[in-house]
Amino acid sequence: MVDFPVIALLVLLPAIGAVVVGLLPKSRNELVLPITTAISMLPLAVALYILWEFSAADGAAFQFSESVVWYEPWGIGWNVGIDGISLLLIVLTAVLFPLSILASASVTKDVKLYMVSMLLLETGLLGVFVALDLLLFFVFFEMTLVPMYLLIGIWGSGNRVYAAVKFFLYTAFGSALLLTGIVALAVMYGNDHGSLSFAFQDLLTLQISSTAQTWLFLGFGIAFAIKVPLFPFHTWLPDAHTEAPTAGSVILAGVLLKLGTYGFVRFNLTLFPEATVDFAPWLAGLAVVGIIYGAAVAIVQPDVKRLVAYSSVSHLGFIVLGTFALTSQGLQGGVIQMVNHGLTTGALFLLIGMIYERRHTRQIADYGGLANVMPLYAGVFLFMAFASIGLPGLNGFIGEFKILLGSYLAFPVMAILAASGVVLAAIYLLWAYERMFTGPVTNDANMGLKDLNAREITILVPIALLIVLLGIYPKPALERIEPAVENIIERIEDATGHETPEFGDMDDLPAATGGHSP
């Protein structure tokens, strides 16, 4: 399509930016924020160019592909490409970074290191979404770990060291299994073809026995399940989210968690179709447990940031449920919901960060009646809460609707149980809103709080616009996601004889949850 290596540019820009920021003179710390913000606009520009040039008509094929062999004996190369699944996640990443960098004005300690970490994190995340070489994917996957660890550990609050180490070790444990799986796949390819290969397209041609698929699925799956995090691997998340600085939470919830769900969609479903069909009911079941458990725990949180953190467990459960429904609707919903959750939860964390900067507390009980002193802030918060609940007309609705629709076809009972998560979401968010914003001002310390300033409005407006846009006109996004998703479903059907339930043949389905059993 284009000969210019636009993906390489996209991925490397933040890394180059990190070097530039790192070289800024120590005495000019006040320059760091504006320069980093400017630098982070560059990948956004490239991402928008990619979005513009991306052709929905090309179907499931990877676009902007680049393939350069790096090291022949290991069969590793710079194999990258973008399809409908990764496209929106790339744009989401590129959008959230400038915003969260701009939201980091209150960081005063080691600003340079902070911004360098942010930019390196961006390179890692963008790299994950474009990588079509498993070792390359792993390198980027792991590359996100260290900057996030530093962000939580140095600039976090309260129990930050514990949270940072817990985050790192949990994820690294998953990574170890993932790496074993990746190397084993490459070796299997080597046994068949005489030379190792880590290239995704090569590995797709492998015939893997059912036993091997089971183990490899587990190796990949546990790594991604920890990242998502799927119940019962979620315990690192509330700590990491709560203690991370605002930007860290935004990126963590907005993008980092998606590495897990993206990994499931990109690798587990395509490389191990048989095992996917076998495991799908189990994962869907865990997802439903996560949806309800996360929501129930969120209701009783006294700390609003922790509340949103647990809501992520619930929301990510929806995405996993949609993914493992193995229906086109469910998968589409899962992919679009990755973006939606990134926007809404990212915005909620930004909002919490803004109020925390003013009051240095996240306890819901310390607030009350804020709508009187900060009407604009309260309005935006309510808007984001509605988006998160999935109010029709806002983005969350589209995703959750599609997920529930798609999963009802495959697992009717689970879909019905999952639907209760939507109700619970309304409870925890609106109840929190009620306690924090409505009524008279209960705490005198809140009397003099200033409403949103120009910088904060600048940060929130783009997100709000995207939420409305995706809510009322999601067609362009879905058009791009659909072919890639259909391709995955077809692949599973071809490989396993599994039949994806369609609308219209509902009568053929057993009434219980065993939609995939032969």
Partner: protein, 492 residues
């Protein structure tokens, strides 16, 4: 055949000559550390150059085995890519380690010359281990290096723990050497040769006949594994390492830790994958058990340490386990082993240089608490420490990650998936203590008593550290040149 081939042993000649020159310069001419530095630097530099010349020579005429004179015709020295790569690595590691610890030489005054000479002798001994084609010569190299290092371990005689370290190292080390020698004797009994190559060598022996009752041979192999396992501090032969690393003069530890590992593993690879390649099914299981044990024991004990050097000693046990993991694949694991060994050696040297900056060049104990808030006291040192710790933990974009991939790919390819899983899970557990250093350095504030005390590092240490860190980072991002080199560095 009457001509003596000097090229294969040029490095030894240079190193021994350098050692003698330094002693003469110090004793008879009364010249100071500057002269020693020039002599040692030139010697090591020239020896390293010799490695390049040897590599080109092999490119031209192929690998060569060099024999003793016409009478016995016993192969002694082999010049193949394996020995040249390993030899070059030993010299480079020795040079960087000496440079990083040069401050110790200054503080030792007159005895500094002895120290430098001993280091050169040790490097020569290690080099012999790598290039020898004969088990007896290998043993001589091992003893040359070991005896020099026993003395170095006790060089700061005024500290009791240094004496303790030296005695411990000496007693256990001699025991291990004896076992190694006994293993050679039994191998000789079983195969009729102490040479690996040549018409009457062990390889030729196995090519011609199969041993029906391998009892004696197996005991011989086992004893050699134990002897070398001790030198590379593989569990359960590792108990000496923490005490020695902690007690020996700080600046001398890098060589003891890295150089011996390089030469020990080179010798092990040569003995096992070349000489006893025929009985790989026997020894590979033993090696895989040792590997798993080392990885697990090293990691678990490292977690419990409160002293940085002891922690590194135990983590070194775990790393020895990772390298043994490559060895289970036989010769196809050699490139992975080389990459791991080459990069880990420099990570280790760099880390011990940092330890010797924090706790003094002659100092022993290096409590973890002294790294608290290092990022505030010296950002550069803290950054270097962070990179090295992440590399040892095997995080991508450091050489440690590439090394681990190579090692585990070799093991999985050889059918040892379980070993790879044990290794990787332990590697994650290992991250706990590598991260602890980053936590201490970055997430904690310095001890108020130390906060304003600047950390001074001499230029030599900083230079050596810079080499180690950039090596680690560079071969993490662009490992291809080194990977190409290691994939060629196979034994004859």
């Amino acid at each position: 055949m009457n001509e003596i081939a000097f090229l294969p042993i040029a490095a030894e000649i240079l190193l021994l000559g350098g050692a003698v020159l330094i002693l003469m310069a110090a004793v008879t001419l009364n010249l100071g550390p500057r002269t020693w530095a020039i002599i040692a630097g030139t010697t090591l530099g020239l020896s390293f150059l010799v490695a390049w010349v040897q590599w080109w020579r092999i490119d031209d005429v192929g690998s060569q085995i060099h024999y003793t004179g016409d009478f016995l015709r016993t192969p002694m020295v082999v010049m193949d890519y394996f020995s040249v790569f390993g030899g070059g690595l030993v010299i480079a590691a020795g040079g960087i380690a000496l440079l990083g610890g040069w401050r110790l030489v200054g503080s030792l005054e007159k005895r500094g010359a002895e120290y430098v000479a001993l280091v050169l002798l040790a490097v020569a001994g290690l080099h012999i281990m790598v290039i020898s084609a004969n088990l007896i010569l290998m043993f001589i190299g091992l003893e040359t290096a070991s005896i020099a290092l026993y003395v170095v371990a006790g060089f700061t005689r005024d500290r009791p723990d240094s004496d303790e370290a030296a005695i411990k190292y000496f007693l256990l080390g001699s025991f291990a050497s004896a076992l190694f020698l006994y293993g050679i004797a039994l191998t000789y009994a079983a195969t009729g040769s102490t040479s690996i190559y040549g018409p009457t060598g062990i390889v030729a022996f196995f090519a011609e006949r199969a041993i029906t009752e391998p009892g004696v041979l197996l005991i011989g192999i086992a004893l050699m594994i134990v002897g070398l396992g001790f030198k590379v501090s593989a569990a359960p032969f590792h108990q000496w390492a923490p005490d020695v690393y902690q007690g020996a003069p700080g600046a001398a530890v890098p060589l003891m830790a890295s150089g011996v590992k390089i030469a020990g593993f080179a010798a092990m690879a040569r003995v096992l994958t070349v000489a006893f390649d025929a009985s790989i099914s026997d020894w590979a299981q033993v090696i895989s058990a040792l590997a798993a044990l080392s990885v697990v024991v090293g990691t678990l004990f490292a977690i419990a340490q409160s002293d940085f050097k002891r922690m590194l000693a135990y983590s070194g046990v775990a790393h020895a386990g990772f390298m043994l993991t490559a060895l289970v694949a036989g010769q196809s694991g050699v490139p992975g082993l080389w990459f791991y060994l080459g990069t880990y050696a420099f990570q280790l040297i760099g880390t011990f240089i940092i330890a010797s900056i924090i706790s003094g060049a002659a100092g022993g104990a290096s409590p973890l608490d002294s790294y608290r808030g290092l990022a505030k006291r010296s950002p550069v040192l803290a950054g270097a420490l962070a990179v090295l710790m992440l590399a040892m933990g095997g995080i991508p974009l450091t050489a440690g990650f590439v090394g681990k991939v190579g090692v585990f790919a070799a093991a999985i390819d050889a059918g040892y998936l379980w070993l790879a899983i044990v290794g990787l899970v332990s590697a994650v557990a290992g991250l706990f203590f590598y991260l602890r250093l980053i936590v201490l350095a970055y997430f904690n504030d310095p001890d108020p008593a130390l906060a304003d005390e600047p950390i001074t590092a001499p230029r030599s240490s900083r230079l050596a550290l810079a080499v180690c860190v950039s090596f680690t980072f560079l071969f993490g991002v662009l490992p291809w040149p080194l990977l190409n080199l290691t994939s060629e560095a196979l034994p004859l």
